[in-house]
């Protein structure tokens, strides 16, 4: 399998563990990651300001993949949704396609909306499969229980063909199970991370993220697992700010799935960016190491 790796803004400028761990583990599952030359912002945050600017920015990245003959693997849910939505819009609306292609001409690009876009959960679950992951790993996350966070745009809007079922997704659970860990569902599992209002209603967005962390901790989980850098930014990087607002009950380990997968593959912790997580991940890593010694 070969993909153009679309990192997106937050993975590239801040959430470095997302990229580090993806670059470590995916090639070990025979997934070649290729650079998309010239890639830029997917445009998603600008959709709030101007629809055409967003459409152009997304189409630009799709066009680069068409030009470089690449299937695209975005790491962020927001980027993934943008790509899928704009692809559909361009295919359905020839007038819009013409308008956008007029803009893309300044960089000698054109977009038909034919790029195949995959989500990392689909690649790991549908293309590779939990069985193969189970066979590939050398150690297991014994005695640990995790909750999943898919993130809104991995599940909704369902009519756009999201990576998993919008009401009862189970792929991330199956992937956690493949690492030998226990998983369980919890009432707040499908709730939003709050990042969407981080710039307009900062305190409310921290409360929304913090509520999920509080409930996970109270329910006795050992950690939270996600794949999305935008969500990770809320749950992990903003955890100190959440704690300052809501109290210490929100202190809770949060991981990228690719970090846990890497640990089970025997990859060095720093290579997976585990030193970059701001949540208290050491306690989980110590339990893992004690169990696999």
């Amino acid at each position: 399998m070969r993909f153009g790796l679309f990192l997106g803004c937050y993975a590239q400028t801040e959430q470095y563990a997302c990229e580090l761990s993806a670059r470590q583990v995916l090639p070990k599952l025979d997934i070649d990651l290729v650079e998309i030359k010239g890639a830029g912002c997917c445009g998603f945050p600008l959709n709030s300001i101007d629809n055409l600017t967003w459409t152009y920015l997304t189409a630009r990245n799709l066009a680069l993949c068409e030009d470089q003959h690449l299937d695209m693997l975005p790491l962020c849910n927001g980027c993934h949704l943008s790509m899928c939505e704009v692809k559909q819009k361009l295919q359905a609306n020839p007038a819009l396609r013409e308008r956008v292609n007029g803009l893309l001409a300044s960089e000698d690009l054109s977009c038909e909306g034919t790029t195949r876009v995959r989500h990392i959960i689909e690649v790991l679950h549908d293309d590779i499969g939990p069985e193969r992951i189970q066979k590939t790993i050398s150690r297991q996350l014994v005695g640990l229980e995790f909750g999943s966070h898919y993130g809104c745009h991995a599940l909704r809007p369902s009519e756009l063909g999201r990576p998993d079922d919008s009401r009862n997704p189970m792929k991330l659970e199956a992937l956690i199970g493949a690492l030998g860990a226990r998983w369980n569902v919890y009432p707040e599992r499908l709730d939003c991370c709050g990042a969407g209002i981080a710039v307009s209603a900062g305190e409310s967005s921290l409360k929304i993220a913090g509520t999920k962390l509080e409930r996970l901790r109270a329910a006795g989980f050992d950690g939270l697992v996600t794949t999305c850098p935008f969500c990770m930014r809320m749950y992990d990087a903003r955890q100190e700010a959440i704690g300052a607002l809501l109290g210490s009950a929100t202190s809770f380990p949060v991981f990228y799935y690719t970090q846990l997968l890497g640990l089970c593959m025997g990859v060095d912790q720093a290579a997976l960016g585990l030193h970059l997580n701001m949540s208290p991940v050491s306690e989980v890593i110590e339990k893992f190491q004690a169990a696999t010694m």
């Binding site: 803004c9 400028t13 580090l20 945050p45 600008l46 300001i49 710039v199 409310s204 929304i208």
Partner: protein
């Protein structure tokens, strides 16, 4: 607030429908959107009210409402809407119209937009500090340099053609 006929703009609903691609008029005010809204529990956002005001044509009232910017675009309401309206798409269309009428979005959006114009990313690469107070950058983590358009001036030319820069300034 008393609604007067002079406040109603009969063209408004067509504009919202055109940008959002949604049949806003089909809303029958059941309120499931407000009931499912995870933001509304904490903020001033009441999606049902915004939908009704949009249909009525209360242009100024809707477009100047800070609540418009409190939607997280999580699509929970859309999954539940019995009329199949993509409410977040309507919120985004309303935000677009607000910006076109000179109502500035929250500062964070302007910062992101300006950064995209200049660097094709919402922010420049950040120096991160770990929980052990060590600093790291893309370079010190041996990550490849930031991906960006090969010719930023040609990229900016297309954005200039859309004209957004004029609207938001900078």
């Amino acid at each position: 607030m008393v609604i007067r006929s002079a406040d109603l703009d009969s063209n408004f609903i067509q504009e919202v429908t055109k940008i959002s691609g949604e049949n806003v008029k089909s809303c029958f005010q059941c309120g499931i959107c407000t009931g499912t809204c995870p933001s509304g529990r904490l903020t001033s956002l009441r999606s049902r009210t915004i939908m009704r005001k949009a249909v009525l044509g209360l242009r100024k009232d809707v477009l100047s409402s800070p609540a418009l910017w409190e939607c997280m675009i999580c699509f929970k309401c859309h999954e539940q809407c019995p009329r199949g309206v993509n409410i977040p798409a309507v919120m985004l269309a309303l935000r677009n119209l607000a910006v076109r009428e000179g109502i500035l979005p929250p500062e964070g959006y302007l910062k992101m937009a300006k950064s995209v114009f200049e660097e094709a990313a919402v922010q420049p690469p950040q120096e991160v500090v770990t929980r052990d107070f060590e600093s790291f950058s893309r370079t010190s983590l041996n990550l490849p340099s930031l991906s960006k358009p090969t010719d930023l001036s040609r990229f900016s030319r297309a954005l200039g053609e859309i004209g957004l820069r004029k609207i938001i300034g900078g």
